[in-house]
């Protein structure tokens, strides 16, 4: 599949030229190496810098709710213009779920959908093809990827560097968008979720040990929470001191509590974009926890978040015949 960059930039320029659009969030070339940065575009010049490539891992939907609302001086009107955002398949589920949860309203956003054949895991890529200071270009190339660096072209097999979330992806095409770019991609056969199964395969004590090691590393930088498009409370309970759900102290106990609480709050809401795991500076496999819950919710309750903007939120609804085999 070839992403037509011309079309993308043209569309972006048109969108930001609209009177009712404040700015557009897309992806742009990062400052060095494999980095891709979120680009905040307000004009045609900015639009010309946008890219869409296998390096565009970030889920930009998080920027829809990340904005801090400043007090508006008397006599001034709030800026009610829309924010445009470019989304991959997984990202679009975040937008959908935000609509379900009233985090955003449909008419507050312009969603530009980008069918996505799968992105790379930047760590895997850097491990196999060491990162240098040179900026690179990366493209989808038939079944694989093409890395262009310093005039050199390297073909990389898809399986070699494909991100884990993409191996499991069932929604490569945006489920919700106002504007769709390019043609839909053919969904692919998904792998078994080996990461989750591996942990499930352990006995309970081994699992405790496994997670103890993981949570012990947590530095509580809250990047997992902040990057999550669905963690959009202005005032997170886990920051709160009265009542204190989780102490500020960074130790295994509080870290575990933090991680359990975070994962639980995403139960039936996580759309498996994998951002939490990507951004974790301690390399904690947060995706496994989220995917585990997502799978339970899908298998046991027949519910999948972020696919239907008119759905009832999972944690705010029930079915009379919800499973209860665990109840005494």
């Amino acid at each position: 599949m070839k992403m037509d960059l011309e079309q993308l930039r043209k569309t972006a320029a048109e969108v930001v030229a609209r009177d009712d659009v404040k700015y557009l969030v897309g992806w742009k070339q990062g400052t060095y190496g494999y980095r891709v940065a979120p680009g905040f575009v307000e004009d045609a010049a900015g639009a010309a810098e946008l890219i869409f490539s296998p390096l565009c891992t970030a889920n930009l939907a998080t920027y829809l709710t990340l904005v801090e609302e400043l007090p508006i001086p008397r006599g001034q009107e709030p800026d009610d213009r829309k924010v445009a955002v470019m989304v991959k398949g997984c990202d679009s589920r975040a937008v959908t779920q935000l609509i379900v949860e009233k985090g955003i309203k449909k008419d507050e956003v312009v969603v530009i959908g980008c069918p996505c054949p799968g992105v790379v895991d930047p760590n895997l890529l850097a491990e196999k093809y060491p990162e240098t200071e040179d900026q690179v270009e990366m493209k989808w190339n038939g079944e694989g990827f093409l890395l262009l660096r310093g005039g050199e072209e390297t073909k990389i097999a898809r399986d070699e560097v494909l991100a884990e979330k993409c191996r499991l992806c069932r929604y490569p095409n945006p489920v919700y968008s106002d504007i769709m770019l390019g043609d839909p991609v053919e969904p692919w056969e998904t792998d078994e979720d080996k990461g989750v199964e591996e942990v499930e395969g352990k006995d309970v004590e081994e699992r405790a040990e496994y997670w103890a090691e993981q949570f012990d590393k947590c530095v509580r930088c809250y990047s997992c929470r902040n990057v999550c498009p669905l963690c959009y409370c202005q005032d997170c309970v886990l920051d709160r001191l009265n009542p204190t759900w989780v102490n500020r102290a960074v130790n295994f106990s509080e870290n575990t509590a933090f991680n359990i609480a975070r994962a639980f709050h995403l139960g039936g809401r996580c759309i498996e974009c994998g951002e939490c795991e990507r951004v974790c500076p301690a390399n904690i496999p947060l995706g496994k926890i989220n995917r585990k819950l997502a799978r339970e919710v899908r298998d046991k309750y027949g519910f999948e978040p972020g696919v239907d903007p008119d759905a009832e939120p999972f944690q705010a609804s029930f079915k009379p015949d919800d499973p209860e085999e665990f109840i005494l």
Binding site: I260, G267, K292, Y301, P320, F326, L328
Partner: protein
Amino acid sequence: MSAEFNPNIVAFLCNWCSYAGADLAGTSRVNYPSNIQIIRVMCSGRVNPLYVMNALQQGADGVLVSGCHPGDCHYMEGNFFARRRLGMLKDLMEFVGVDPKRFHMSWVSASEGHKWKEVVEKTVEDAKEAGPFEGFRRRQIDW
């Protein structure tokens, strides 16, 4: 050691069914283990699933949540929400390595004093099997 281990169990009971059921067990002089301490809430739907985590963190070896049978909720639907939330929590806790024996949920009606006894016995027995909860307890050893 395990024979002498006396688990500390925190239970959350809805006011209308399970708490009344536990009261009935008392009125009927049903004898059961004293390991269980009850916190009364108006409805099992009030039980924030994170209470379970919090109780374990703060020193409980086991947690029980009990409400009205499906369809009997004094507030119509609270126990359905509790069931969904706590069912999910149980999956999560198990996955992160908390022994599922440490957390139980039950339906006990106001008339089921004897069932209450059975539930307590099962909860205590399971917590004993699981042993003292060291996991992510907010211990003072690393202070």
